[in-house]
Amino acid sequence: MTVYLVRRLLQALLVVLAMSLIVFIGVYAIGDPVEILISPDADQIERERAVQALGLDLPLWQQYAVFLTKALQGDLGRSFVYNEPALKLILQRMPATMELAFGATIFALIIGLPLGLYAGLRPNSRFSRVIMASSILGFSLPTFWVGLMLIMVFAVYLGWLPSTGRGDTGTLLGMQWSFLTWDGLRHMAMPALNLSLFKISLVIRLTRAGVRETMLMDYVKFARAKGLSPARVTFVHVFKNILIPVVTVVGLELGSTIAFSVVTESVFAWPGMGKLIIDSINVLDRPVIVAYLMLIVLMFIAINLIVDLTYSMLDPRVRLESKGT
């Protein structure tokens, strides 16, 4: 297990290094770093001083070393717009994005699992066909447009939910969370649902495929031959087997949910990391862009690692193999 963990960590480190190189080349080689890293309002003297301060007159590999060292110290530059460390700026917005992504994941599971289970157990019923047709729609619908339509129906015409913003927040662990207040929850409902649409479809499809495959397995037939109740066969013998792939995918999807929250946050003016990055791209606040990219790469690698470990804990077969290595 330890060997396995160390190997996975080394792999992760390698990917982080590769990505930092890509971001570095993106910023320093493709674009003009002076233009990217120094405020466009700076005059000639300020510019030259900055070039020297940033070490832009050094050879490229030395610049990369400096970039890496600074990044390791948590220094990813200062925002031109807010004049604050870029990393701090992003970390402030992180709770908003995280709670949105978790909300979407919960939506996806509580809506997707039962529907997928039903569609898998009764593949030929009319309701199952409706479920599957809707899931195709869920894959095809452009997220941002659905978000607009949600606002139109629930905020403009029905007036049930607030259209944009985060609402009241409560404090937990020194961070601001919307899910702690009723007003915050009302603000969160639509964006979370919007963000979860794609994932609901995904969970439905995975669950249905898993149920259909598992139902054909001998061990399910054997469970029935033991005289177990249909409920026990479905929820213990079938469901536990399906949970493994679904949990894996939903876990892996957490990363892409955070990435796709860029769109949802823009639609609902949700003040998270995604909204910040779009605003930053629009005003060319590049230190924030670089910091965001590096942070999300790290996050992705961490999520992949955690999912792998969770997976090995859920499936006894994987657990044994990794013990052996």
């Binding site: 061990y219 054997f222 029935r224 033991k226 005289g227 109740s229």
Partner: protein
Amino acid sequence: MNMTAPTLEVRDLKTHFFTRAGVVKAVDGVSFSVGRGKVMGLVGESGSGKSVTGFSIIGLVDPPGRIAGGSILFQGRDLAKLSEEEMRDLRGNRIAMIFQDPMMTLNPVLRIDTQMIETVLAHKKVSKEEARQRARDTLGMVGIPSPDERLKAYPHQFSGGMRQRVAIAIALLHEPQLIIADEPTTALDVTIQGQILAEVQKLCATTGTSMIWITHDLSVVAGLADDIAVMYAGRIVEKGVVGEVLDRPLHPYTHGLIGSVPSRNKRGEALRQIPGMTPSLLNLPPGCAFRSRCPRASEACLTEPLLAEILPGREARCVHPHLEAPEAA
């Protein structure tokens, strides 16, 4: 209860699959009976309907298949007419089943104790501790060493033979009157196969459990079964006491099957084989289903022969049975 009445009597069982391409008559008019404490060997090639017969008895035929006719009398009750609830009460309790592939019959994500205790609790109102006790005893009975530790294991930690023993233990938890064994030793090594056969034989003899042993392996049937029924294309083509059928097969198909067992042939002599393949059960042509592969086929085979008593106690479904003296072996 009448002690001489058979445990199970299947009469004219028809199990059909209603597919989009047409009706597949997987089991088409099968009759046989199994006496108390007896082992019945149900023999046939894959696709002959022998497994479907087993699933029909235990009531686990999945749509689009269903029992289309006939009766299954188990201790005087017709299983074909029972509700799903009543069937579930019998399954795993009075009638148990063992499957072919021990690698696939145990749920990989549940521990052995979970899978055994749930079976006990499905039919008996006992405490979890009593159920565990019962599970432990049964595991010991089928020859699994240190059952206490093994209960906490997952299926993948067992070898194939051990897994099949666990599956047999699960089948024995409620001391059923009938066990349907669907090729339970096919996937195992020959030595393990022998051990398990010996165990099963002993268990049947001591508990009075009847058994239907589904297989394509005649040598297994020869050593284990009391009676034998040979199936071909959804029908029984020959049945009788095991020794007589194997020594003097009447139906050309049985004859061919025995001829293709290597041990029964002389060294140096070419193995005999049955030419051709099992016919598709979809749109089976009228007449004897075996006639296209049969060396004895004639015009008369175009009409379907009935299962008739050809010799005393010997039934076969053939117009040209092997009545000549058995070949010198």
